[in-house]
């Protein structure tokens, strides 16, 4: 993944370095209608557009990349605390020489962010306060200190034009060439570190105990990750703002988390989502010039998350709903097969087919219902319907035998191994019969000594009977006794 990512990054770096700087910081857009704005954005005429675009790509990349680690480590709100905690650092970095020197701000903010995360862990380690309370406490307190400092700076004669208020909600168009250089530097370091220590990050994220036992310095990995995270929050500040930068960490990574199970894919997708959301935010904020960039980026990221939430192929709500419906339909078919088996068992397998009438009586349903269920079986190739009688197809017969066997084996298992009374085991077996796999069944059979009868005295179809398709002989013998 990251080789391509870093190559793309290098290209961006070069692009950033070679971009003309004479128009840096231009914010006085000529007010014009939105179509010309779109054209101006897409043709990248203005340096500020180029800066805004490169900046949002860089921040989306680094936030998505590092955000995926905080999401899988379940410290999503640490990002939130961190992003608010950097504000006093930003103000102090500004006070260093009363200009918006990106490096001074980066250093100040990194120190403040690390102090914040240290305080969160110190408070929750040494007091009864829970982690969430400690997070909220540190977050809001640091933010308040930052607000005090910012309002004090704005009172100063030079402070009014400080542009510090842009740090609250972000304005990508205010990015300067130095900002971009710093962003590119931090993003490069983040990408390189993640690639270099991918294995360590993977192990310590998912199994801290294991990684400690093989001698990984998990504590240092954590601190290193926090440092990178703080740096990437800081470079994102100017474009996204203090308040919403945590969303750029959490949301793209959570969207990716819904779409894949592999960490390397998660990281790449999160970075891609971050870049997409960043570009969308920069674009929209340029088209409507009075809009702050940060909220628009966040809304873009949230749109991606909602799409993944609803339509994700495995973890999406729609997919899960359909899966549940398919599961319910399959359970219903299997219950019909079981009822057919029961009807045939009652006649000791002397008949080949099961009439809809008998099936309806067995299931205590109307003939119409039985017909509907039968048609469903036919549609899935589990039975054939001729006249008003249903006949098993070979797969249908096999599945029916399996379900009945699962049911009776489980009942026997519960009565023998769990000491549950024989009249209490049916309900549980009704559920588990659809789920038991072959290997579990083998295990159950072995544990139960290849028993042939369930607690109610009915025969358990054997593997040979099921796979040989000869339920009649085995079952017939059983019920005969």
């Amino acid at each position: 993944m990251s080789r391509t990512a870093s190559r793309a990054l290098l290209i961006l770096l070069v692009a950033a370095a070679t971009s003309p700087v004479e128009a840096a910081g231009v914010r006085e857009f000529v007010s014009s209608d939105w179509s010309t704005q779109i054209v101006r954005f897409l043709t990248l005429q203005d340096a500020s557009v180029r800066f805004a675009l490169i900046g949002s790509v860089l921040l989306g990349l680094s936030c998505g990349l590092l955000g995926s680690f905080i999401v899988v480590r379940k410290m999503a709100l640490m990002g939130d605390a961190l992003s608010h905690a950097v504000l006093p650092g930003v103000a102090i970095g500004f006070l260093w020489n009363m200009t918006k020197d990106p490096l001074a701000i980066l250093i100040g903010a990194t120190i403040a962010g690390l102090l914040g995360t240290f305080l969160v862990s110190a408070i929750s380690r040494t007091t009864r306060l829970k982690e969430d309370a400690a997070l909220g406490l540190v977050l809001a307190t640091f933010f308040a200190i930052g607000i005090c400092l910012v309002t004090m700076i704005q009172r100063l004669p030079t402070g009014n034009k400080s542009g510090l208020d842009k740090f609250l909600f972000g304005q990508a168009a205010a990015l300067s060439a130095e900002d971009i250089t710093l962003m590119a530097l931090v993003t490069t370091i983040a990408v390189v570190m993640v690639v270099a220590f991918y294995k360590e990050l993977l192990a310590s994220s998912f199994d801290p105990g294991f990684s400690r036992s093989i001698g990984l310095p998990t504590r240092w990995i954590h601190h290193g990750l926090m440092l990178l995270l703080t740096a990437s929050v800081v470079i994102a500040l100017q474009a996204v703002g203090v308040v919403l930068v945590s969303a750029m960490l959490i949301t793209p990574a959570s969207a990716a988390y819904l779409l894949t199970d592999r960490l390397h894919r998660l990281v790449v997708m999160a970075a891609a989502f971050g870049v997409g959301a960043g570009m969308a935010g920069a674009f929209l904020s340029f088209v409507g010039p009075s809009l702050p960039t940060g909220p628009l980026m966040v809304i873009g990221a949230s749109a991606l998350f909602s799409a993944a939430f609803l339509f994700g192929p495995r973890h999406g709500v729609v997919a899960r709903w359909m899966l549940r419906r398919r599961g319910a339909a399959r359970t219903q078919r299997e219950n019909t097969l079981k009822s057919m088996f029961h009807v045939m068992e009652a006649t000791q397998f002397r008949t080949e087919g099961v009439t809809l009438h008998d099936l309806a009586i067995r299931r205590r349903e109307t003939i119409d219902d039985a017909q509907r269920l039968g048609r469903d079986l036919v549609r899935h190739g589990l039975a054939t319907l001729s006249g008003d009688a249903l006949y098993f197809t070979p797969p249908g017969r096999k599945r029916a035998g399996e379900i009945v066997r699962n049911h009776r084996l489980w009942e026997l298992y519960l009565t023998q191994s769990a000491n549950i009374a024989a009249d209490h085991v049916h309900e549980d077996a009704e559920k588990i019969e659809h789920i038991l796999g072959e290997s579990v069944v083998r295990d159950l059979e072995r544990r139960l000594g290849y028993a042939t009868f369930d607690p109610h005295g009915r025969a358990i179809p054997s593997a040979r009977a099921i796979h040989g398709g000869d339920a009649r002989r085995e079952g017939g013998n059983g019920t005969g006794k």
Binding site: V71, R73, K74, A76, L77, D80, L95, M98, V120, S121, R125, T126, T127, R128, L129, K130, E131, D132, A133, A134, G136, L137, A140, T141, F143, A144, I145, I147, C148, L149, T151, M152, I153, R155, L156, D165, F169, T218, I221, H222, V243, L244, S246, A247, I250, T251, S254, L258, L291, P292, P295, L296, V298, I299, S302, F305, F309, H315, V317, R320
Partner: protein, 329 residues
């Protein structure tokens, strides 16, 4: 840099706000107490239920509710604002629950996603309708408690009750206090032992949503004066400080009110001295109080812990009960 911190003028900072300027700073301090007190009382229960960050979430996500209510009714009346905030608060709670229950996204990430989205929508709405909505983006973040006294006073039969926002906030504080007094036993049991509460006939879902409703009302009435983020501190700081001093819930309630009073007085002093946002100064003052108690608290304080560790006869029971936050879990 030195120009930023004004010289400490003892009269102007310590005396003047409470004598010649009492009509201004008195109301600010009273408002600060009402906000911090109401938030602190509700916050106690949030912390007991490990939902402290729900306060963060709800405080951010009431913004779109407020703007929408304003745009629909084009009035800033109390009722539409409360209705909008309650709707937004309810939506937040449901959205967080469903993201976290329906998918494998963890609750903390679900909180982060939901509130940042709603807050972003709210900010974009305020920017789009900047001409019509009387909320500016910075005010949304940290409020402006100093504007409170500018409102007209409410007179009740010749008795001056105070400026409108203060009366509203005081009513909220009173309501929260009365609700806690009325349902103290239920709240106590359901916070510590939900199973027992259910067996005693308390509906835990009802309790949860009731608490969320109270939270939304408190947050929205505090919104104007302290904004979306500082309110989180007001929710957590009083209870956090109080719980370092006592383990009895009733005493924790009283102590958080005391914390609210001290921090609003100290906050006004700090704000006057440094000439900065008074709401933020109140939070800083509250945090200083917390830091002080954290160090010197007789049972839980850092000094007490350190001394306990030096006497090996008494094994420290406190050090083992909370898991280190920095551990990667």
């Amino acid at each position: 840099m030195n120009a930023m911190i004004p010289a400490f003028d003892a009269h102007a900072v310590l005396v003047a706000p409470w004598t010649e300027n009492l009509s201004l700073f008195g109301w600010i301090a009273a408002m600060g107490f009402a906000v911090t007190g109401a938030c602190g009382l509700v916050g106690n229960y949030l912390m007991l239920r490990r939902m402290a960050l729900m306060g963060d979430a709800v405080s951010h996500s009431v913004l779109p509710g407020l703007v929408a209510a304003f745009l629909v009714t084009s009035s800033r009346g109390t009722l539409p604002m409360f209705a909008g905030a309650l709707a937004a608060g309810g939506f937040t709670t449901i959205a967080i629950e469903s993201i976290h229950k329906l998918t494998r996204v963890k609750q903390d990430a679900a909180i982060g996603i939901t509130f940042s989205t709603l807050f972003a929508i709210g900010v974009v709405m305020t920017s789009l309708y900047a001409g019509q909505v009387d909320l500016d983006a910075d005010c949304v973040l940290y409020g402006e408690i100093a504007f409170v006294p500018l409102e007209p006073m409410i007179n009740l039969g010749g008795l001056v009750l105070g400026p409108v926002p203060f009366v509203r906030m005081a009513a909220v504080l009173l309501m929260v206090g009365l609700l806690i007094a009325a349902f103290y036993k239920e709240l106590l049991v359901s916070a510590f032992d939900p199973g027992l509460a259910r067996s005693l006939g308390t509906n835990p879902t009802l309790m949860h949503y009731g608490l969320m409703a109270a939270l939304s009302v408190v947050v929205v009435s505090a919104f104007e004066s302290v904004g979306a983020i500082l309110v989180v501190a007001m929710l957590i700081l009083p209870g956090a400080t109080a719980s370092l001093l006592s383990t009895r819930l009733s005493r924790v309630h009283l102590l958080s009110l005391v914390h609210a009073a001290i921090s609003s007085w100290l906050g006004v002093t700090l704000g006057v001295w440094l000439d900065c946002s008074i709401a933020a100064a109140m939070v800083v003052a509250g945090a200083l109080l917390f830091a002080l108690i954290w160090i010197v608290s007789p049972n839980e304080g850092l000094v007490a812990r350190w001394r306990r560790r030096r006497t090996p006869a008494l094994p420290s029971a406190m050090s083992s009960n909370s898991s280190p936050v920095s551990e990667l879990k």
